[in-house]
Symmetry: C2
Subunit: 132 residues, 2 copies
C-alpha cells in the first residue's frame, strides 16, 4: 500500500499508552483480543498479516512468528468512536490460542464455574516448547 493510502489511520484514536484493543474474528469465531499501537496497525495493514503490541513484553510482535499460526487479514474495521479495531482474518494452522485451543475464548460460565467448552486443537508444548 502506498503511504498516501494510510490516511485512514489518523481516524483511529489510540488510548492509554497509545494502544487500541483489536478483536480478531475468523468467520463466526472471535479468536482473541490483543492490543495494537500505531505501528502494529500500520504494519498489519501494509503486510496483510496481524501484528500486535504486547503490554507485558513491551514490544511489537507478529502473530504466529513463533508457531507459524499467522493471521491473514481479510478486512480491517473500526468502530463508531475509532477506538477499537475489528480484524477479520483467516487463521492459519489449527488455532490462535497459546493453550492449544482455536479461540482464546474457550471457557464459558456454566453452573457458576468457568468450564472449557472447546477441545484443544494442538499441543502447545510441541508448537511453542522449543526455546521456552
Amino acid at each position: 500500500m502506498a503511504a498516501s493510502s494510510m490516511k485512514w489511520i489518523k481516524e483511529i484514536t489510540f488510548g492509554p499508552h497509545g494502544l487500541v484493543p483489536a478483536i480478531v474474528q475468523d468467520g463466526n469465531t472471535v479468536l482473541m483480543v490483543a492490543y495494537m499501537n500505531r505501528r502494529a496497525l500500520d504494519l498489519t495493514a501494509r503486510t496483510g498479516y496481524a501484528h500486535f503490541y504486547s503490554r507485558s513484553r513491551r514490544k511489537m510482535w507478529k502473530k504466529g512468528e513463533e508457531s507459524g499460526h499467522v493471521q491473514r487479514v481479510v478486512a480491517i474495521r473500526a468502530d463508531c468512536y475509532g477506538n477499537s479495531i475489528l480484524l477479520l482474518v483467516r487463521q492459519k494452522g489449527p488455532g490462535a490460542c497459546h493453550t492449544g485451543h482455536r479461540s482464546c475464548f474457550f471457557r464459558e460460565v456454566r453452573g457458576g464455574r468457568l468450564v472449557t467448552v472447546d477441545k484443544p486443537r494442538f499441543d502447545p508444548l510441541k508448537v511453542y516448547g522449543k526455546g521456552k
Copy 2:
C-alpha cells in the same frame, strides 16, 4: 443466581482502573466493544442483561436503558488469561450502535479510506433524541 455460584468472577483479572474489555457478539456479528468493572460483570451475569462501565461518564450503565435496545445474555466467555470477556447476546431492537447501525463496526478500510459498509437500521435522533 446464588452468590455462591459467582465464584468464577474471581478468575477474571480486571486491568487498569478495574476494567476488562467486553466484546459483544450476536450470531456472527461483533456488535461492539465496551468495558466492564466487577459490578457490571456481576450484574450482567445476575440479571441476564448486558451492563457496562462508561469511562467517559464514569458510571455503570445498562445497555439499552435509554433506547430499549437491550442485550439479552446468551453466554459469558472468558479468554485464556481471564482479562477479556466475550459476551454472546441477542440484541433487542434494530441495532447496538448510537449512530443507528446494527454494529459499531460499520466502517471498513477500503482504498485507503474508512468506508461505511452497512446501512443504518434506525434513526438515532428518534431513539436517543429526547432529553439530549
